[in-house]
């Protein structure tokens, strides 16, 4: 992919003061700039502040707090500024929290970036409210102020100090694009998602959207359509004929917008429920009895779904009978009489030959040849003879619309009479009723079976202390209800779209009758076309990036995965499901360790295609991994990602100790390969004043 390469930039030093659990100043961490010993480790018990360091780097770079998917900060009393320092303030006093990053290229310090948040106790207040700058609940009597300072070189090579936060943000974003931050400030919890195709798909889609900057195209699509609609509303309002349609269009557009948003949210919600359901099913499948019951239950659900479809079709047939055949039955007598009249008229030769092909046929088939009036004549094929003339007349009649109309009409009457035979209708109706009874019975039976399987699932004893059967039943009900509601909304959307199009046509017609506003109408066409064109363009970019991501992820996975020889390639489907396949193109099942490596390969792949040439800080890289898979992943860290400044924020348990299921202490694996530069340990300490704080020290295992 032809994206500009960037110079390699890395963090040389981090200085933290009064942030989170780090009270006071002097909390400094130097990171490796070596390509050989490229890994720095930060070890800490749970809750010691590892994730805080990760999030503080993000805050320093962008001046915003990193959003975590499942966190709700608004209720927390712990925020950016150290809580003890904040709570100790007296009226008129202030405290400043700051983070400084020294960012280097291969030659020198390129940026020295400091971001500060100052809190000042202004007045007494018992009220506590959420303060977005501090990202926590604080007394409303405290005022907050942020500032930033960037020391860098200007174009002439002189050092300058920049304090304008907009300029700072632009400069930093050029080097460390915020939309790519997930790929250099990575949350290890996301790696767990790669064990399951559907739970990783959102993450992959989100990644592709972010790296391509597709939000800008979404905005272009929306704004060009909005502008076109506004012009339409404007000219529609001026025209008396078009005004009602214009008002309707405004209303329908707003309704469409709301409904689309609702559908999008519901779809996300449904996917989450589906992921939960899959997770539970997966756990149940691991149990032998559970696996058999789930398989039987799935069959019963399929049978129920087929019976429901048949029942729906049968109901349609009954409707057809009620609304088409029954009304026809009511005019059956009239039609039968009409047919008799036709037959009699034809037999009596009272339909003039010019419109009756039957009459001509009668003449031509008579022997000896006779006219309808009884006159005989010879079968002579010479030009001008009655035989030839009659044949010509017959040919003309066949072409004649009127005679064809009559025969078609008769044909239709015969068919209606045939299908509306009382006996036949009664037979059909009885048959439909029987099918209905049978299908309803089948659905009830399948429902009972599904319920029974659900009950059996609840009775199985699982290794984990969870009632998986009940959970599955709950999620299944939840999923069915949500998908049903989603379908209703999607049908509403189709209906609403049709209404919009119908009204839009009327609006266009009303405006074109006026013969005015040509320029405006052209602008509307341009705006609508840009919106549609952008949609196609966006699709194309998504496809392109999906295929590039797939290629790059495949490359890294096949280089580093445990038992990599059993795999052939990685596939990312149109729905962004990620699958590892073997040489026969069959989807392979991945161990926890392999799935984790797949996630890392994806991160490495995205970094490659975006030419991200900077640090990779991973918070909890071994999240939820134990036993042999942990050893395998540690090997990956120690062998791959050469030259990349890697910082791993790990717990002491995983880094320093093994586990009974075969995991070695990670420290042994990483040190063996000689890639670790320094290890730090975050300790809990008390200051002279008795305030709890943290101390970051080099780890010494001697």
């Amino acid at each position: 992919m032809d994206l500009e390469s960037k110079e390699r930039l890395f963090i040389n030093k981090i200085d933290i003061e009064n942030c989170g659990r780090f009270y006071g100043g002097g909390h400094t961490i130097s990171l490796s700039n070596s390509s050989e010993k490229n890994i720095t480790i930060i070890i800490g018990y749970s809750g010691r502040g590892k994730s805080t360091i990760h999030d503080l780097i993000y805050w320093c770079l962008y001046g915003e707090h990193k959003k975590h998917a499942e966190e709700e900060h608004k209720g927390l009393d712990y925020g950016l500024i150290n809580t003890d320092a904040l709570e100790d303030l007296s009226k008129g006093e202030g405290v400043t929290a700051s983070v400084t990053l020294s960012l280097h290229n291969d030659k020198e310090e390129k940026y020295l970036l400091t971001r500060q948040l100052k809190a000042t106790y202004i007045q007494d207040s018992t009220k506590r409210e959420f303060e977005p700058q501090n990202n926590s609940r604080v007394s409303s009597g405290i005022g907050f102020e942020t500032s930033a300072k960037l020391i860098m070189k200007n174009e002439s090579g002189d050092k300058i100090i920049e304090k304008n936060s907009k300029i700072i943000n632009n400069e930093i974003n050029k080097q460390f694009p915020q939309n790519l931050s997930d790929f250099f400030l990575f949350d290890g919890e996301n790696l767990v998602k790669f064990k399951n195709q559907s739970s990783s798909s959102d993450f992959i889609k989100d990644g592709i959207t972010k790296i391509s900057g597709l939000e800008i195209l979404d905005s272009l699509m929306k704004n060009s359509k909005n502008t076109a609609e506004k012009i339409q509303t404007h000219i529609g309002g001026k025209s008396a004929n078009a005004a009602p349609y214009s008002a309707t269009e405004t209303r329908l557009s707003a309704e469409l917008e709301t409904l689309k948003k609702e559908i999008k949210n519901d779809e996300i919600d449904l996917l989450k429920t589906q992921a939960l359901l899959n997770e539970i099913s997966e756990k149940i499948r691991k149990n032998k009895d559970g696996s058999k019951i789930i398989s039987d239950q799935t069959k019963a659900q399929k049978n129920k779904s087929n019976a429901s479809k048949d029942l729906k079709q049968n109901n349609e047939n009954i409707k057809d009978m009620l609304f088409e055949k029954i009304p026809q039955l009511l005019i059956r007598d009239v039609l039968q009489n009409a047919e008799k009249i036709f037959e009699r008229l034809e037999n009596e030769d009272k339909i003039p030959p010019s419109i009756s092909r039957g009459a001509i046929d009668k003449i031509l088939n008579s022997n000896p040849l006779k006219c309808v009036c009884g006159r005989e004549f010879e079968k002579n094929e010479e030009e001008g003879q009655p035989w030839v003339i009659l044949n010509k007349i017959k040919g003309a009649i066949i072409e004649d619309d009127l005679s064809q109309g009559i025969s078609l009409g008769r044909d239709l009457i015969s068919r209606i009479i045939d299908v509306t035979s009382m006996k036949k209708l009664r037979g059909d109706f009885d048959n439909f009723l029987e099918i209905r009874r049978e299908k309803r019975r089948a659905i009830q039976e399948q429902d009972a079976e599904i319920e029974e399987f659900g009950r059996q699932l609840k009775e199985i004893e699982y290794d984990e202390q969870e009632d998986l059967g009940s959970l599955k039943a709950k999620y299944w009900d939840d999923y069915t209800e949500k998908s049903g509601l989603l379908k209703i909304k999607k049908d509403e959307l189709v209906e609403l779209n049709d209404k919009w199009n119908e009204n839009h046509k009327l609006l266009e017609d009303a405006l074109s009758k006026e013969g005015k506003y040509d320029t405006e109408k052209d602008k509307i066409s341009l705006g609508m076309a840009v919106s549609k064109f952008t949609k196609h363009l966006e699709k194309r970019i998504e496809e392109l990036l999906r295929s590039e991501t797939q290629k790059a992820t495949s490359k890294y996975f096949l280089e580093s995965a445990p038992e990599k020889q059993t795999f052939d390639h990685v596939d990312i489907s149109e729905n962004y499901d990620i699958m590892v396949k073997d040489a026969s193109d069959l989807v392979a099942s991945l161990s926890k360790g392999q799935a984790h490596v797949l996630g890392l390969a994806y991160v490495a792949g995205i970094r490659e295609i975006t030419h991200t040439n900077t640090f990779l800080i991973i918070d909890s890289p071994l999240h939820n991994i134990s036993g042999i898979p942990r050893n395998e992943i540690s090997e990956v860290f120690s062998k791959y990602l050469p030259g990349v400044q890697v910082v791993l924020l790990v717990t002491d348990t995983e880094y320093l100790h093994g586990d009974p299921t075969g995991a070695e202490p990670v420290i042994n694996i990483l040190r063996k390969n000689g890639r670790v530069w320094k290890e730090y340990f975050i300790e809990e300490v008390k200051t002279k004043e008795g305030i709890q704080s943290r101390k970051i020290e080099e780890y010494n295992d001697q």
Binding site: G213, I216, S525, L526
Partner: protein, 73 residues
């Protein structure tokens, strides 16, 4: 300010090269509108006016307007 990924502009060009029925002025029009998006970033104030002005500049491109009428409908 939003950073415009070069891949968008590159694909825009390729896409138009592959679809010769789309008038070439579409590239300039989309590029101009993307520039507005890039500069305005999250501030949406007056964006309609800017869009309106750009569309106004392209009304005289008869081929583009005619194509748009068929394509957008």
């Amino acid at each position: 300010m939003v950073i415009l990924n070069p891949i968008i502009l590159k694909t825009l060009k390729t896409f138009l090269d592959e679809n010769s029925e789309i008038p070439k002025e579409m590239q300039t029009l989309v590029e101009k509108l993307l520039k507005i998006e890039e500069i305005s970033g999250n501030s949406k104030e007056g964006i309609d006016k800017l869009y309106d002005q750009i569309l106004d500049q392209f009304v005289s491109k008869t081929d583009l307007v005619e194509w748009s009428k068929n394509y957008g409908s």
